[in-house]
């Protein structure tokens, strides 16, 4: 894919965010993290398994009318560590940055350990420490390494 193609792809939205260099097949999980399922009326464009110079294949997610918060970017980093975030205003990319892995993620993932206090009816948000190769529940210690996106809390 040429730079011109990339530019065209990015410049197609007027205002919003383009999430590029997402590992192939993770685009729907990116939408899940952002809480986008179409019911809110957002305009979303997705490219899946697009050829990439740096990744074998990549996904691209473009969300019209929405700029990602830092919290959202932090969580995205767990499933899309190589992603670049492009903020677009008036068809121009005004900000472009890579994601950084946060130290912790709060209130986003649910703990798969059914004996964890975060799964009881208590007034507590989940908190996971981000490890080199996964995340760990701060309460029960459970480590998640595989398929982190499947633990995104959809409540």
């Amino acid at each position: 894919m040429s730079d011109t193609d990339k530019q065209l792809r990015v410049s197609k939205i007027e205002n919003g965010t383009v999430i590029d260099h997402v590992h192939g097949g993770q685009a729907l999980n990116v939408l899940a993290i952002l809480g986008i399922d179409g019911s809110g009326g957002e305009q979303v464009a997705i490219g899946m398994n697009v050829p990439s110079d740096t990744l074998a294949t990549k996904d691209i997610v473009k969300v019209e009318g929405r700029e990602l918060s830092q919290d959202e970017v932090d969580v995205l980093s767990l499933i899309a560590p190589d992603a670049t975030i492009n903020i677009v205003r008036d068809y121009e990319v005004v900000e472009k940055h890579r994601v950084d892995r946060p130290g912790t993620v709060t209130g986003v993932l649910s703990c798969p350990n059914r004996n964890c206090i975060t799964n009881a009816d208590e007034p507590v948000e989940t908190r996971f420490d981000v490890l080199r190769d996964g995340v760990r529940c701060e309460f029960c210690g459970q480590i998640i390494r595989e398929d982190i996106a499947s633990h995104i809390d959809d409540d």
Partner: protein, 304 residues
Amino acid sequence: MRHDHLLTANQLTREDIELVLDRAAEVDANPAAFGKRHAGTLLGLCFFEPSTRTKMSFEAAMKRLGGDVVDMGSVDSSSVKKGESLADTVRVVEGYADALVLRHPLMGAAKMASEFVDVPLVNAGDGAGHHPTQTLLDLYTIRENAGLDDLTIGIMGDLKYGRTVHSLATALTNFGASQHFVSPESLKLPRSVRYDLHEAGATVREHTDLEAVLPQLDVLYVTRIQRERFPDENEYHRIAGEYQIDAETLDAAKDDLTVMHPLPRVDEIAPEIDDTDHARYFEQAHNGVPVRMALLDMLLEGDS
């Protein structure tokens, strides 16, 4: 100690542990000197699970420090039965007591509860998670009998769900102990404990039978293989039988092997071992009082 709460063994440094054990030795040597140190102080006991030794030893410890306890009683007779959350319960009991002791069936309960209270909170067991005060009395017993340096210890039984094992194994990494874990395949150490051990630089040596490793051991720490973990009763009996020790088993052990068990035992240790020099499990249980006196003394005086 630098901590307001004692939640897991992970938070204890070697220095923390030695401070508590040294204070416990002072208590042991001269209990009368500690008899009025905390007169008028109240310890809140919140036990959401049955407990005999832990609860009684905390109660004894507080009373021997000159204080007293307020006990929420059994879950069936408390507001928990009415649906009160743990967060609310500890916030209420905090108003009655100067420190709290919590046992709860869910992992991470103590960690969560500690975020709702300002008084010191001690984890007295959270499901299959941690039991750090058991670890302190275990370490005290080990230090008295075998020393904590150059220690080779075997930890045998239910390593997956045994919270005493999780805390002990983690704490022992502070002392560079050589640890051997003996269990059925299905009850091996959980991933989270392995992670802590690896992070601390410890090597996890796992075995399915005791025979090969027994002659090397200074301490053998036995835990109960819990019948309720097995859907098949026959499978339980088959496995549990392989993790029982008797006098004949110990023929292959060092003469000064220390045998420990957090109790209660069922049939993991034959009664014939009770009268041998190996048996230290009742001494271990008794050490719960001076060790918990020391810990409470330090937490209540804000010994930072």
